[in-house]
């Protein structure tokens, strides 16, 4: 089913409420702008009569797309500009044009010739793997845009109505979301998607309210005013003045409250809960400028992905040192390379695996390529020596105490003092005490822990309820880990998306977690929530959540029992 075809059959005109899953906190009111889906080839293939005219039509369409990309490149910042410029160059590719002309000579109409020629290049790029395989997605974009021109269909991609809007889409692809500007996108509503889907994670990291898996979203038309509630999952169509006013007041209150929420994380009774930042490829100095107590998760994959060869020790050292300097005396937690599965590396390809999420990924890559981790640890240690920074290292995808011990041995041998592991496999949570005997700290990755505990693939958008971070079974495993940390007086952190939900953050603290790592926009609301609850209050909320029948009940029970100021945010 696609948005385009459904719209118009029964358009939403009267006040009405649509319901989905709240995926990113906050409220917003604004006019809808629909993201058009990529145009498909028409069902009937017309007889191509005039090859010369068809070739000229295809060439003109490609030229128009190239111009459009070039225009957008001129308006974009330097990094986006380079990518758009390269896309424009692809649209102007003389060999692509020649291949299209060849197909047309063979009797294909322009649309089909375009499709065949693009698919040919995509297969070539995909078979090369790694970075080139990802460029195949850029060609999708060129095909879709050119197809829209040829078919006179609305241009796919992000809408640009010239004013702030509520983005409505079937689902968002990484390429779409990379260009989202929080200043113009007031909220996101998608018909599909799950709580750990790309859309949800990105919306949270940008602080944009979002409702996903919203039934009826396909009937929303451009310009229709909607009020979006990213907590309850409600989308009110044509809201009355009262509701608009209420939403505006709430947004204003939230803005004021969050502006004044600064400094280290503390419960109401002064118990420290470190508020940390999740960091990836962004600019280290910009990351370091955030009001946080350090880095809880440095994803080092950004150095390794998209490359044919392993980054040199020198290059790694320089990247780490730059980040460490940006954080001064605040501790930085470095996660060693988490590749494999959904993040394949060209130089460490493990081949096809029937269940990649259960395959050779994370620390397990060390089995096949032991030197890779050793070189990374050496580069981190060198950057620590050069900067004097306080650095903690941790390994992803640890399943057993023996693996934890193996990693700890390697890290300490490299000269790194503070060593930990991620808890993202249920086996590791169940034996958290034995794992903590081997290491100094653990950090719970709730996204993967949720996927493995509920046996629900994170990449699927058909299982949103199971992947809900409020699942009592997931919370029980956090509790197991938190209690082990308390018994052994060792630090237990959470660096999954769960830490970014203010109410759930209270529950995590009540379960024994003493640091929370998240994307920057989520920090103020979590800090505010903590400051309004004592440690005992957090423990009471945690007990309520763990005892609940399911995620919805847990969320409702905690919302009702938490400070009303926090629930109203």
């Amino acid at each position: 089913m696609d948005v385009q075809q459904d719209r118009g059959q029964s358009p939403v005109t009267a006040p009405e409420m649509l319901t989905g899953t709240g995926a990113s906190t906050g409220t917003a009111v604004g006019p809808v702008a629909v993201m058009s889906p990529p145009p498909a080839l028409p069902e009937r293939r017309p007889q191509a009569v005039d090859a010369a005219a068809e070739t000229a039509r295809a060439a003109a369409a490609l030229e128009r797309v190239a111009d459009l990309l070039q225009e957008r490149a001129a308006a974009a910042d330097s990094e986006a500009s380079a990518i758009l410029g390269a896309q424009a160059l692809m649209a102007r590719d003389p060999q692509l044009a020649a291949n299209i002309a060849k197909e047309i000579e063979g009797g294909e109409p322009a649309e089909w010739a375009l499709d065949t020629a693009v698919t040919g290049y995509q297969e070539l790029l995909r078979s090369a793997g790694g970075y080139l395989a990802e460029r195949a997605a850029d060609l999708d974009d060129i095909r879709n845009r050119t197809m829209a021109v040829l078919l006179d269909a609305p241009m796919p991609g992000l809408p640009d109505p010239g004013h702030p809007f509520v983005l409505v889409a079937d689902d968002l692809a990484p390429a779409d979301t990379a260009q989202l500007d929080p200043a113009t996108v007031l909220a996101i509503v998608t018909r599909r998607g799950g709580p750990t889907s790309h859309t949800a994670i990105l919306a949270r990291s940008l602080g944009i309210p979002a409702v996903i898996a919203c039934v009826g979203a396909e009937r929303l038309a451009d310009g229709t005013p909607v009020a979006v509630d990213g907590d309850t999952g409600e989308v009110v169509v044509r809201p009355d003045a009262e509701r608009v006013e209420a939403a505006a007041q709430r947004a204003e209150l939230r803005r004021k409250v969050l502006e004044t929420s600064v400094g280290p994380g503390r419960t109401e009774d002064g118990h420290s809960v470190k508020l940390l930042l999740n960091v990836g490829a962004e600019d280290p100095d910009a990351a370091g400028a955030h009001d946080c107590e350090g880095v809880g998760l440095l994803r080092t994959e950004f150095l390794f992905l998209d490359r044919e060869t392993e980054p040199t020790p020198e290059e790694q050292y320089e990247s780490y040192a730059r980040l460490f300097r940006a954080f001064g005396d605040r501790a930085v937690t470095v996660r060693t390379l988490d590749a494999g599965s959904d993040k394949p590396l060209a130089f460490a390809d493990q081949g096809e695996e029937p269940n990649p999420a259960l395959g050779v990924r994370g620390f397990r890559i060390t089995r096949a390529m032991p030197r890779l981790l050793e070189r990374q640890l050496a580069a981190i240690a060198r950057a620590v020596d050069a900067t004097g920074a306080r650095v903690r290292v941790m390994a992803p995808m640890i399943a057993t105490p023996a693996e934890a011990a193996e990693f700890a041995g390697l890290a300490r041998e490299a000269g790194l003092a503070e060593v930990g592991v991620m808890i993202e496999v249920p086996a590791a949570a169940l034996l958290a005490d034995r794992i903590l005997e081997q290491v100094d700290f653990v950090s719970i990755g709730t996204n993967d822990l949720s996927q493995y505990t509920l046996a629900a693939d994170r990449m699927l958008d058909t299982l949103p309820g199971l992947l809900d971070p409020w699942q009592p079974a997931l919370l029980r495993l956090v509790q197991e880990t938190g209690s082990a940390g308390e018994r052994l007086s060792k630090a237990v952190g959470v660096c999954g998306e769960a830490a970014a939900d203010p109410l759930l953050a209270l529950v995590l603290v009540g379960l024994g977690v003493n640091s929370l790592s998240m994307s920057a926009p989520a920090l103020p609301a979590v800090r505010y929530a903590l400051a309004r609850h004592s440690l005992q209050a957090c423990r009471d909320l945690a007990a309520l959540a763990v005892a609940s029948a399911g995620p919805e009940e847990a969320r409702a029970a905690v919302r009702a029992a938490a400070s009303p100021e926090v629930a109203a945010l």
């Binding site: 380079a82 003389p94 790029l125 090369a128 970075y131 080139l132 998209d306 490359r307 044919e308 060869t309």
Partner: protein
């Protein structure tokens, strides 16, 4: 026909930004420039898709050819462009 060999200097290989710069420069010569990997068939150096699909990594040897006025000088410029590491230069 004038011909040159070059060693890819870019640490990421001949794709992304280095490939874009090379294709733009090859197009700007106005000549029919080709590029081939060792033992590979030559492809149109003005085609970004063909150049990327070569999959020429860091250190790979490539052969350039061009025909027409100014081909010798144009090839020299293109060889220089291929042999610098753009990423290191930018950092």
């Amino acid at each position: 026909m004038p011909q040159r060999t070059a060693t890819i200097g870019s640490s990421v290989g001949l794709h992304a930004r280095p490939a874009t710069l090379f294709v733009q420069a090859a197009t700007a010569t106005g000549l029919a420039v080709t590029i081939a990997k060792e033992d590979g068939a030559p492809v149109d150096a003005r085609s970004l898709l063909s150049v990327m699909a070569l999959g020429a990594g860091n250190g790979a040897k490539v052969t350039l050819t061009a025909e027409g006025d100014g081909a010798e000088a144009a090839l020299d410029d293109l060889v220089r462009l291929l042999e610098i590491d753009h990423d290191a230069a930018a950092a």
